[in-house]
């Protein structure tokens, strides 16, 4: 039975002023999704971390220095108008990565992937990782692997799935009980782990959800590029490389202007313009 329901659009907003850089989200993600580990993980280019916490500073000297930690899961780009033209989906020759119109989640199907890595080149966020080696667990440690996420093999690309298996589990339960999924029923592993409560996850299309209330996504065209890209109408909220029009579903929030400015590469004088236009279309909403 398929009903014509309004599609979900799952997304998150991360409060960068609350994030302490503790790393709980990274480990929770690895434990949830059977992410393997190697003896040396200090070369971050081949270290598979679906969720990675970047560290930025304002460049000033002590004691004026400030740090911002930026947790970076897959941004789940929807493209302009949420038509599913994510940078990675557009280039995948194997349809191994696809856009879920009912959830807004960008999938990754390991058994379809043949490792061409076009998607990695296309992703502006370095959110995708290639398995250069087969995963290897020390003797006995495979015992803690979860059956909900298949372990990957050498030669395929992997990335954050917004813990899609958790969505499936919640959806099945909801279908059995003939009701909608509750907000707290489907939460990603990083969200539940964050001890600082910096991550808020939910349905961006559902005005009752906290994430919608914080982000207030704009259904109207962006005044800067005249495209519908779900820009936040909250002046403290921004996205990474927002002007690419990737229309990501991971929003960031900060009171600090230098942090918001660090979300994109602005030329001299450009930021002033963006800053004043930020949330300018709120009169529509």
């Amino acid at each position: 039975m398929i009903e014509n329901k309004k599609a979900h659009k799952f997304g998150m907003v991360i409060d960068l002023d609350k994030c302490t850089g503790c790393g709980a989200c990274m480990v929770s993600c690895m434990a949830e999704n059977n992410v393997p580990f190697k003896e040396d993980e200090s070369n971050k280019k081949d270290s598979i971390t679906w969720m990675r916490v970047y560290r930025l500073t304002n460049g000033k000297s002590f004691p004026e220095t400030q740090i911002a930690y930026i947790p970076r899961p897959c941004q789940h780009c929807g493209g302009i108008g949420d038509h599913g033209h994510s940078p990675c989906v557009s280039v995948c020759p194997a349809t191994a990565t696809d856009y879920g119109y009912d959830t807004g989640i960008v999938s990754q199907i390991y058994t379809r992937c043949f490792g061409c890595r076009y998607c990695m080149g296309a992703c502006p966020y370095h959110a995708r990782y290639f398995n250069w080696w087969d995963p290897k667990w020390p003797e006995g440690m495979e015992n803690y692997l979860s059956p909900n996420v298949s372990p990957r093999m050498r030669g395929v690309v992997e990335k954050c799935s917004f813990c899609y298996h958790r969505y499936q589990l919640a959806r099945e339960q909801a279908i059995v009980e003939d009701r909608e999924i509750e907000e707290m029923e489907y939460q990603t592993a990083c969200t539940t782990a964050c001890p600082a409560g910096a991550i808020v996850f939910g349905d961006l299309n559902n005005p009752a959800h906290k994430v919608h209330q914080i982000v207030k996504p704009d259904p109207h065209p962006d005044p800067l590029n005249h495209k519908v890209v779900g820009k936040s109408r909250n002046p403290k909220v921004f996205r990474l490389l927002e002007r690419l029009g990737t229309n990501t579903k991971v929003y960031y929030m900060s009171d600090r202007e230098w942090v918001r400015k660090a979300g994109d590469n602005y030329l001299k004088g450009e930021w002033e313009n963006v800053k004043t236009h930020h949330g300018a279309s709120s009169s529509h909403g």
Binding site: T20, F37, E142, N143, P195
Partner: protein
Amino acid sequence: MKIDRRSFLGLGLGAAAGIALSPVGVKLTDDSSIWTQNWPWTPVPEDGEITYDRSVCSLCPGACGISVRKINGRPVKIEGLDDYPINNGGACLHGISGLQYLYDPARIKTPLKKTGNKFEKISWDEAIALVAQTLGKIRESGTPESLGLITGADSGSMAQLFARFMDAFGSPNTYTMPSLESNLALTAAALHGADRRLGFDLDHSDFILSFGAALIEGWGAPVACIQANASRCERKAKLVQVDYRLSNTANTADKIIAVKPGTEADLALGLCAVLLTKAQISTGRLFGDVNKFAFATMVVKEYTPAKVEAITGVKAADIEALAMEFIKAKAPVAVPGKGRGDVGQSLREFAAVQTLNALAGRLNKEGGVFVMGPADYLNFPENVMDEVAEKGAGKDQLAGSVNELVDTLEKNGGLSALFIYNANPCYVLSNPEKVKAAMDKVGFKVSFSSFMDETALRSDVILPASIFLERLEDVVSGAGLAKTVVGLCRPMVKPVFDTKHPGDALILLAQAMGHSIAQSFAWESYDSCLGEVAEKIWENLSGDGYVVIDDRPPAGTPATDFSFLASGPKAAEVMGEGDYTLVPVDKMRLAGGSMASSPFAVKTVSDKVISGKYSVVEINPATAGALKDGDVAVLKTAMGTAKVKIGFNEGIMPGVIGMPRGLGHAFNNPYVAGKGVNVNDLIGPVIEPGSGLDAAFGVKATLSKA
């Protein structure tokens, strides 16, 4: 037959059509894709029913409630337990990776005995008999006091069981590894009387003055502190961080007071002096306090803002302003213990900060410091002590602290046997080489470790302990938390290896020794012992999984004894020479104590902390000289030399080198050990007179290009 153009094309087209229509091609393609996608070497985790079980994590003193997700009874994920009174659903990265400890390559799988330089597997019966026999001989020789115990646990039934064994055996020589908990207990003992604990009510304070405490990097109960900090931000309560580098805690603070490393105590005393002069806190207000006049006279004279400016580098006007802001806040609290508050701390500093709380009238007030009694919920039966035990237990301790014990042992020996439980002194204490030399002076070392760590490697017999996921235990919150919660840690799986609950090992051992010791340990097992001694709260503890003993400010204001500070203790000298001061840096993602980090935790660590085999040290580019970011350099101190990588960091005071703690492990776990340098190798202990603490917060160092 002649093949002409026509028949050639016809044949070709026919063949093409045949292949296209035949299922063989499709079948072959399908088969090959299935075949190439059969990855027999990739594990296929067994599926089954999902269940959740609750327990308590005892990896650190935080004692968080955890929820363990299981598939057909097989644990697959650890998460924070919702509504648990300490962590309220939150978890830290070490707790979440708890399952990696279960299958850790460095786990000790059976009892072991050292023969020559090698460990040999033995059975539990043999191991217990061997230890009982050796200890029996020591008792027969009439020197039961020559059995020592080094332990990390400070509270709960396991700590009391070990204490009971030592008593029944007849030895006063129990030593606790330095921890925030033990340092706070020492401070409370010096200022407010014995057997007290200090709890900081961060949840209700509107002005937290932290003397370098890494509140969101593992200080105290890590998750509770991170949550307290998050709620502080929402409440717009202020955090002022006294620090010499931009720790993550300093980064969330509203204000940073930059001090020279090791001068935090002087700043605290300077603030006390301002309160006594400017804020007109009459010494008469300090009713019932001891030596208040002597302290007031001393501090007002010796710690004037001008003098303190010269020591700490904080401007006199800023010191005065900070003191006034502190006293004028509604619910201020001063928090001691730089970093995680465990190693490299001094009583002088802890006492100075606590005195600030006392002067500001913040003892036993909401949002202040709670001076709490012991978590009194266990009732052990009377210990049976024979004549030997009475005589031995009445003797003087060999040393005043674990640091002094190391000194004494290394110089003169003095112990013939040593138990080590929940501790890794050969890694955690300053100058581990000396600790190892001291260990070598002890004839017979028995380790109750779960992992083959630096200390277990040096033991003679190992009675391997089941880890927290495999055992029942009461876990008491502590570590600076302003409430007392007893949680029940429950076995989530049967022991994976041939290990035992350390309580069971101890009971077996006591029973094997016979006589009065066996009578003191007349339990069938640890589990039955716990049910009996915790009977008072057992119903709730086993039903709800936890019991909140107390979470309100204790009644009344405890008296403060100012004698220790009034005697004018001096700051510890910084050892060695050099242009730089090397200080250890505590990172949330690296465990620094007796428990090593997990592979997951190490994986999350930045390449600005670990780079291949190197530790990366933080240094301000302004004082890096000819060194460049990423250079390999030689770091030299009075204690040793190490090759490190240079990591430029604007967020550290010029002239200070910050080195991550928790690296340089040397045992068999390639995912965790063999990375970087143990910062303790480069720092020598500086023992503080009066407290026996190792007050070496850092060491002078030189840095040159390799």
